[in-house]
C-alpha cells in the first residue's frame, strides 16, 4: 500500500472525473455553487470510503455472479445513512442538492471503484482508495464550482465578490455551462497529462542514450 501514489492517482493521473470520466452527471448538475460542491464531495467521499471498506471485507464472501447487486445493496445502505444525516443536520445543503444525494447509489464512481479496486484489494488499501478517489472527485467539483459560481453568479460561497458592475454570464450556471466547463477542464487535464508523459518519455530516451 502506498498512500502517496494512491493520492496522486486519485487527484491527477487517475482522477475519477477527468481521467476515468465517471460520475459526470452529478458533476455537471450540482457544481453551481461552492456550498453544493463541498456537500456533494464530502458525501461521496464518506460513502465511497465506507462502501470500499465493506466491499473489501466481503469480497471473498460475495459470489461473482451477483456481485453488482451486492455492491449496490452495500452502497445503497450508506447512501441512505448519509442522506438522512444530511437532512437532519444540514437541511439547507440537503435541499439544494435534492435528488442528487439519493442518486449517489447509481453514481458510477462508487460502483466503478468497488468493481475495479475494492473487490480485489485489501481493506486498508480500499479505504485509502476511497479517500483519495473521493478527494479527486471533490477537487474537480470545487474547481468547477469556483469558475461557475464566480463567473456565472458573481459570488463565492454565496457572497458577492465581483464588483456590482459585473454582469454575470448566466449561461455558466445553466446545464450547458456545466458541459462547457467540464469539457474545458477535461481538455486541459489531458493536455497537461500528455505533456508530462512526453517529458517523461524524452527523459527516458536520454537516459537510454547515455
Amino acid at each position: 500500500m502506498n498512500f502517496g501514489k494512491q493520492l496522486k492517482e486519485g487527484l491527477i493521473t487517475n482522477n475519477p472525473v477527468t481521467v476515468q470520466l465517471l460520475g459526470m452527471c452529478s458533476t455537471m448538475a450540482i457544481t453551481t455553487s461552492i456550498t453544493n460542491g463541498i456537500g456533494m464531495g464530502v458525501s461521496v467521499m464518506i460513502i465511497l470510503t465506507l462502501a470500499n471498506i465493506f466491499i473489501a471485507l466481503l469480497r471473498k464472501v460475495i459470489p461473482d455472479e451477483v456481485r453488482i447487486a451486492c455492491f449496490i445493496v452495500v452502497i445503497a445502505g450508506f447512501v441512505t445513512m448519509v442522506d438522512l444525516s444530511l437532512q437532519a443536520f444540514f437541511p439547507a445543503i440537503a435541499k439544494s442538492l435534492g435528488v442528487f444525494i439519493p442518486l449517489i447509489v447509481v453514481n458510477c464512481i462508487i460502483l466503478g471503484r468497488a468493481e475495479a479496486f475494492a473487490s480485489k484489494n485489501s481493506v486498508a488499501a480500499s479505504a485509502v482508495d476511497g479517500i483519495t478517489q473521493g478527494l479527486g472527485y471533490t477537487a474537480v467539483l470545487l474547481v468547477l464550482c469556483f469558475v461557475r459560481e464566480l463567473l456565472g453568479a458573481g459570488k463565492l460561497l454565496g457572497v458577492q465578490v465581483m464588483p456590482s458592475s459585473y454582469v454575470p454570464a448566466g449561461i455558466l450556471v445553466l446545464p450547458v455551462g456545466g458541459f462547457l466547463c467540464l469539457g474545458a477542464l477535461i481538455a486541459a487535464m489531458q493536455w497537461a497529462l500528455n505533456k508530462s508523459k512526453e517529458k517523461a518519455a524524452k527523459a527516458e530516451g536520454k537516459e537510454a542514450a547515455e
Binding site: 454582469v167 454570464a169 448566466g170 449561461i171 445553466l174 450547458v176
Partner: protein, 338 residues
C-alpha cells in the same frame, strides 16, 4: 506554321485543368459587400454606434481566430475573411445597445467553441454567428432583448447610440397585439426598416438588395432563401393571427431576422445541405420551425433557433437526397440490394 508545334510547351498536370478564381476569400468578400447596404442602414437608423459595434465584433472575431490558432500552433487562416464575416453577422443580430465586451464574449463562443474546437472552417456543424447569438441570449438575456426605438431620439452621428428608449419589436407585438402593430408601423415601415430590432435585421429592403447580389454573383443559390421565406409566407397566409391575412403575411416576412437569416445565415455552405433538393428541404424546415416558434414558442423570434436546429439535421438531409451516381440504374441497384 509547321514548325510551331515544336515551340509549344506541354504541361502535364492532373485535372481539373480549368480552375475558377473563386476561393474562400473572394466568396467571403462578396458576402461582406452584400451586407454593406444593411450595415449602412443600421448606421443611418441607430447611429454611429452600430458601425463601431460591427468593427469591434469583426476585430474580436479575427482576434480569437488568430489567438486560438497561434496557441495551438496551427497555420493562420484569418486572411480568408470567414472570421470577419462571422463577426459582422454576429454584430448584426444583436441589439445596437449591447455593450462591446459582450460582443467580444459572443465572438469567443462563435469562433473558439463553435468553429475552431470542431476543427475550424468547414468543420463546424452550426452557424457560428447564430450559435454566438444563442449563447449571448442564454448569458445576458436582458441586454439581448433591450430594443430601442430610434424614432424617439434619433441621432445618426451620436457615438453613444441613441438614448435607450425600450420598445417592443414588431415581432413581440405581432404575438399579442397585432392591431397595435399595424397602427404603429405600416408595411412600408417594415419593408424599409423604420422599426426597432437587431442592428442589421430591420431593413428588409437592404437585405433583399444584398441577397439578390449574392444570388446574382452565384455565391448562394436561390433554393434556401426562396423555400424558407416562401414557407413562412404561405403558413402565415393560411393561418393569420389578425383580420387581414395578406398584411399579416407581409408583416411576418418583413419582420424580425427572417431576411437576414434566409439570405445570409441559412445559406452558409458549411452548415447547409449540398444538393439543390436538400437545400429546398432545409429551407422548408427552417420556415416551419420559424413559424412554430413565433406562434407557439415563448420567444417572439424563431429564426435563430430554427436555423440552428436545421443545421443539426443537415447530415440526415444530405444522406436522404444523395444524388444518383451517373450511369447507375435505380432498378439494377435495387436488384443488387436483394
Amino acid at each position: 506554321m509547321n514548325g510551331d508545334y515544336k515551340a509549344l510547351k506541354l504541361i502535364a498536370s492532373s485535372n481539373p485543368h480549368i480552375r475558377s478564381n473563386e476561393d474562400t476569400r473572394s466568396l467571403m468578400l462578396d458576402v461582406i459587400i452584400a451586407l454593406c447596404p444593411a450595415v449602412a442602414w443600421s448606421v443611418y437608423r441607430f447611429g454611429f454606434r452600430a458601425l463601431l459595434a460591427a468593427a469591434v465584433s469583426v476585430a474580436s472575431a479575427v482576434f480569437w481566430e488568430w489567438l486560438y490558432r497561434k496557441l495551438l500552433k496551427k497555420p493562420q487562416m484569418f486572411g480568408d475573411l470567414s472570421a470577419a464575416v462571422t463577426g459582422l453577422l454576429l454584430a448584426m443580430v444583436c441589439p445596437v445597445t449591447l455593450p462591446y465586451w459582450m460582443l467580444v464574449v459572443g465572438n469567443f463562443f462563435a469562433i473558439v467553441v463553435v468553429k475552431q474546437l470542431y476543427g475550424g472552417l468547414g468543420k463546424n456543424f452550426m452557424n457560428p454567428a447564430l450559435a454566438g447569438r444563442a449563447a449571448l441570449v442564454a448569458c445576458y438575456a436582458s441586454q439581448m432583448t433591450t430594443w430601442i426605438d430610434p424614432a424617439a431620439g434619433w441621432a445618426p452621428l451620436s457615438l453613444k447610440g441613441v438614448d435607450v428608449v425600450t420598445s417592443a419589436t414588431p415581432l413581440a407585438m405581432m404575438k399579442d397585439n397585432f392591431a397595435g402593430l399595424t397602427e404603429g408601423y405600416t408595411v412600408a415601415d417594415m419593408f424599409l426598416g423604420n422599426t426597432g430590432g437587431s442592428a442589421g435585421e430591420v431593413s428588409a429592403l437592404m437585405l433583399l438588395i444584398g441577397g439578390c447580389y449574392l444570388i446574382f454573383r452565384k455565391v448562394i443559390s436561390w433554393q434556401i432563401p426562396v423555400s424558407y421565406i416562401g414557407t413562412v409566407a404561405l403558413l402565415s397566409l393560411l393561418f393569420p393571427n389578425g383580420n387581414s391575412a395578406v398584411s399579416y403575411m407581409l408583416y411576418s416576412i418583413f419582420g424580425g431576422g427572417l431576411m437576414l437569416g434566409a439570405f445570409f445565415m441559412a445559406t452558409d455552405y458549411v452548415t447547409s445541405p449540398v444538393t439543390k433538393k436538400g437545400q429546398l428541404i432545409f429551407g422548408v424546415g427552417c420556415g416551419l420551425l420559424t413559424v412554430f416558434i413565433r406562434r407557439f414558442g415563448s420567444f417572439p423570434e424563431g429564426v435563430c433557433y430554427s436555423i440552428l436546429l436545421m443545421n443539426c439535421t443537415v447530415w440526415i438531409i444530405d444522406r436522404a437526397v444523395r444524388p444518383q451516381r451517373f450511369g447507375a440504374d435505380k432498378a439494377k441497384k435495387e436488384a443488387a440490394k436483394k
